[in-house]
């Protein structure tokens, strides 16, 4: 649910990084946080799963400049991937405007990726949203692991598993080092802002 403030000329959008536990969602936000200047980023809030808490997510607010005279403010969220945090994932998805699905290439995580995408589809449906109609970008993360002896999935295999239905743009990434992180962020921001703007700003 975007917020459009006509007085301050600001558009606020919520983008959620989704995916199985340990696929690299928090690592994406940390990389972005470290790479942006103080003027363009807010405080990064990380509530991790250590200790006895009921809510876990990361939040990074960003300023992405102006479009048509409006300041674009984006809030990036991550969800906890572990199966048991279903309720938190659903809460974080409330009012989401755009989604990044981060896929883990490890062969042993193949089923987890598929389950997590299905969990996303279902949780959005519970909020009355259809994943097929929403801005979505896939990120094929941890591509550095594909050069090691651990069994991994190729991008084609991941596309086959995850992107047949959605035909979303996909980016290869190494979130720990940076490649692909900003490409993913730029694409999802662009799509999300267009999606919100088309609904409200330009068709008047």
């Amino acid at each position: 649910m975007a917020l459009i403030d006509l007085g301050k000329k600001e558009v606020h959008c919520k983008i959620v990084y989704y995916g199985a536990g340990r696929c690299g969602k928090t690592t994406n936000l940390l990389y972005i946080y470290n790479a942006m200047s103080d003027n363009d980023r807010g405080k990064m809030l990380t509530i991790d799963t250590k200790g006895d808490r009921t809510l876990f997510f990361d939040l990074l607010p960003l300023n992405l400049g102006k479009i048509s005279g409006f300041d674009i403010r984006i809030q990036l969220y991550t969800v906890p991937g572990q199966v048991m945090y279903e309720a938190t994932r659903k809460l974080v998805l409330k009012g989401v405007d755009g989604l990044v699905f981060v896929a883990d290439p490890l062969k042993v995580r193949q089923e987890r990726n598929i389950e997590s995408l299905e969990d996303l589809r279902r949780n959005l449906a519970d909020h009355g949203l259809n994943l097929k109609e929403m801005p979505l970008v896939l990120q094929y993360n941890k591509r550095d692991l594909c050069e090691t002896p651990v069994p991994t999935l190729s991008v084609e295999e991941l596309e086959q598993d995850l992107n047949q239905e959605y035909q979303a743009p996909g980016f290869e990434a190494i979130a720990t080092k940076g490649p692909g992180v900003f490409e993913t962020l730029k694409e999802i921001s662009k799509r999300t802002v267009n999606y919100v703007a088309q609904k409200h700003l330009f068709n008047k």
Binding site: M1, A2, L3, L45, L55, G128
Partner: protein
Amino acid sequence: MPDMILTAKSVEDVKSIINEKLISENVQTVMVIDGAGNILAHCGQDADGLDAISLAALTAANFGATSQIAKLIGENDFSLLYHKGEKANIHFARLGGEMILVSIFGDDVSLGLVRVRVEELADDINQIFEG
């Protein structure tokens, strides 16, 4: 949950009634936030120490979690939450729909007063932003 569009006038109107009912009674900070964690209006102390964005995000998620708890015990929702600290107290109230009013105040302000004033404000804020 539809997108929310605020006009300069609606924000000013909401701020002015919040100032009149709460800030004038020494409540430090009042925020209206939506279910996604966006800040719709922010009044009172713009305390540098207060990380409003994080507070709004956590409040929205916390209220969502509490709604789930309410359902588990057969309640539709808890319409308000209150936490008492040593120096600062925080009061959260649902304004109907998805909006939440957050009030932060010290021991010089009575909880009873905050409750009454928040109740008086709820319909008006709702009408201005959603009506």
